[in-house]
Symmetry: C2
Subunit: 438 residues, 2 copies
């Protein structure tokens, strides 16, 4: 009979029948809390006697207890709750631990661990008993304890500058779904476009996880290089860096914007606006550099830069400035800005692309469904998230990551870009508004 009910065990103990020789109760099956076994005359010798949910008790097998065996037992100190049930716990959690399952099944914790993880071979009968015990107590292992023990969290983090931006959402989605296939989860950290916060956030997020995907287009370069070594394993998206061992997924914004301008030039546009992004953004810098070195096909086309931003509102608010500038086409920083501008033009009755061509960048899912459908440069954002995962996983797995990729945005000509009008749009400052019904 390997397991005693605690009352039996106490009885045995009191009557000196077993002399604290319990091969079936070992130190490792202890449960937090439990009852107090007190020794008459010497309170310092009292010892906690853990009691399992099943009602079986564990008597610590050590010298203190053995010395108690030579003494008379006084009483069980009843727990304050009355102790009608044998179930006790100092923590409020109430969740079953591996120790509970071990006690219930009458085996060691190690065996429970083996059964749960199905690693080593276990006696089928024992395995069944353990599984039954686990089911009965509805046990599920603590991921935290597991992570501490094995040194992995099975979680990666992604730091994005703005969760409201569809582009980063797509990256997150690609990462999340790819990581899920490998049993990893994703923690998101949204820096809310605050580069200062970003550094702290990245450090903090990294500490909770096994790896990090960093999307930080606004972060200062020097700061980034200082930060990256502490973040490894880390994958950098939309930025380049000189730090070795950091896979980089770069988008060639320069060539993308060049192709866009060339596209418009070939449609006859000679004066084109670049509706710029946030000045601190690495992506904006890259686009400007691209504009500084146009393709041969774009020869003769002049580009005027109009400062703007990255959001809907920015694009929406820049309409008048674009119209005043006397351009026949507006190349926007991204699709979101382009959509804002498109909306504003629609409200003003400016026909796109008849009077003004408008293009975006990124090819977010919505770009295909604007009216007119938005000409843009396609950046496979979801794929970017997947590729980030491929590299991060390789790093986590001790493999060499796939080579860095330099994504070349693909031009997506749609309905929002058309032949340049004979006269630029400023010739129609008072063009009749289309009827609106509200």
């Amino acid at each position: 009979m390997p397991v005693h009910h605690w009352a039996e065990a106490l009885e045995d103990l009191v009557h000196g029948l077993v002399e604290l020789d319990f091969p079936w109760v070992t130190g490792q099956n202890l449960v937090p809390g439990g009852k107090q076994l007190r020794v008459h005359g010497d309170p310092s010798l009292s010892v906690r006697c853990p009691v399992y949910p099943t009602g079986t008790a564990s008597i610590p097998e050590n010298d203190t207890v053995k010395s108690q065996a030579a003494t008379r037992l006084l009483s069980w100190a009843e727990p304050t709750d009355g102790g009608s049930m044998a179930r006790t716990s100092t923590r409020a959690s109430g969740r079953a631990t591996i120790a509970h399952v071990a006690a219930e099944a009458g085996v060691s914790r190690a065996t429970v661990s083996r059964v749960m993880n199905g690693l080593s071979t276990v006696d089928p009968a024992i395995g069944e008993r353990v599984r039954a015990a686990a089911a009965k107590l509805s046990y599920s292992p603590s991921t935290v304890a597991r992570s501490l023990a094995i040194g992995r969290t099975q979680t990666v983090a992604i730091v994005v500058p703005d969760l409201a931006n569809p582009m980063f959402q797509e990256t997150l989605r690609g990462l999340s779904r790819a990581a899920a296939r490998e049993g990893y989860r994703v923690l998101v950290a949204d820096s809310v476009e605050n580069p200062a916060e970003e550094v702290i956030l990245a450090r903090e997020a990294r500490r909770r996880c096994d790896g990090l995907v960093l999307v930080a287009p606004r972060m200062d370069g020097a700061q980034l290089e200082e930060l990256l070594p502490d973040l490894a394993p880390v994958v950098l998206v939309n930025r380049t860096t000189g730090i070795p061992g950091v896979p980089v997924l770069a988008v060639d914004y320069a060539s993308g914007i060049r192709a866009m301008v060339a596209h418009l030039a070939q449609l006859g546009h000679r004066r084109i606006a670049y509706v710029a992004g946030p000045s601190a953004s690495a992506g904006d810098r890259a686009r400007r550099e691209g504009l500084a070195h146009p393709l041969p096909e774009a020869a003769g086309a002049e580009v005027v830069v109009i400062p703007c931003g990255a959001m809907f509102e920015d694009g929406h608010s820049v309409r008048e400035e674009v119209l005043r500038s006397g351009v026949t086409a507006a190349v926007c920083f991204n699709d979101v800005v382009a959509m804002g501008l498109l909306g504003a033009l629609h409200e003003a009755g400016v026909a796109v692309p008849e009077q003004l061509s408008v293009t975006g960048f990124d090819d977010i899912a919505f770009a295909r469904y604007t009216s007119p459908a938005l000409t843009t440069a396609s950046v496979p954002q979801t794929r970017l998230g997947e590729q980030a995962w491929d590299r991060l996983f390789a790093l986590l797995d001790g493999q060499a990551p796939p080579p860095d990729v330099d994504i070349n945005p693909r031009l997506e000509p749609r309905a929002s870009s058309g032949p340049a009008p004979a006269l630029p749009s400023r010739a129609f400052p008072d063009a009749p508004h289309r009827t609106r019904h509200t």
Copy 2:
């Protein structure tokens, strides 16, 4: 001199100068790994001597070592790497732990913990020493170990059916930003519209976190009720349940869709299409119920249901069916579907709202910027995420959560809905397409 270089300590040991009385080295400052201190003639007495990154050594202060003091020392067993540096570790991690910092600063781990957490009062000089040591070793506490010790992860999870849907993205964003303000992070789990996966995913995600926000519009009701108790603390979004203690954030889709139909009826529409969502969706059921009990203002308007879906493509593909149905207005399941339909109508040259009014639902950020701007029913999705956090945090904090909310979508009349045409759109099956330039 409280700290010895390990070579010094060894020397002292060999020469019997210190007799293993190192008050500055205690058992608790051990570092994993380290060198082997061997006792001549009795290998069983050998003991591991941890060595700190700083080059100081720790000699375990126990009986085994004391007995060794009575013996001659033979040698340091050199680690296989040659051991030129004193830095050793069995784990590859290389990250500094609290023990390293304690050794470096010459204090106990408890003191380091106190300094790092700024809880108890510490001697300013010691505090400074600890901070310097931490900075030198670029120490940052292990969140995992911390979580295990305090029983909290400072992380919550959100399970969403589809990360590609802007609505859930907004909820995630609201949750993430609100949680961040309280120092919590968010783990995302994307069930990829798979209700079966959802149950497992929710359980799994919950185990890693302190709480859960569940957005599961497609999950079977019975299954949900069985699942919820295991998930507590949990907040349910967009669903109702009878389980007590589970805060619910419900959106009153029924009244929202009623208001929408009434809006169109007042614009003179007499035959209206409901472009339906996924049939398994609780949100679609609610909308249909709303349609079954129209408002008085909508009297005389007939609603035909056209099965569709929840995505762009669904809306895009349903154009012909809508046109054939002879309606003058299409009430779409959500904004995404409406945008798909809007794009398809634009391609076909059908004027919105002159020939056909189109409305959406949710008021995603893009709805304001479609052309024409989309009439929709506004569901404050970001706010929903924030409210979910308020309730989850209250639960985590042991407070009573704020009362359940029943969000009433607010009608947002924009340009995509207008007076009913004299003739329904099917009268213009071959309406001239607007010129497109590509």
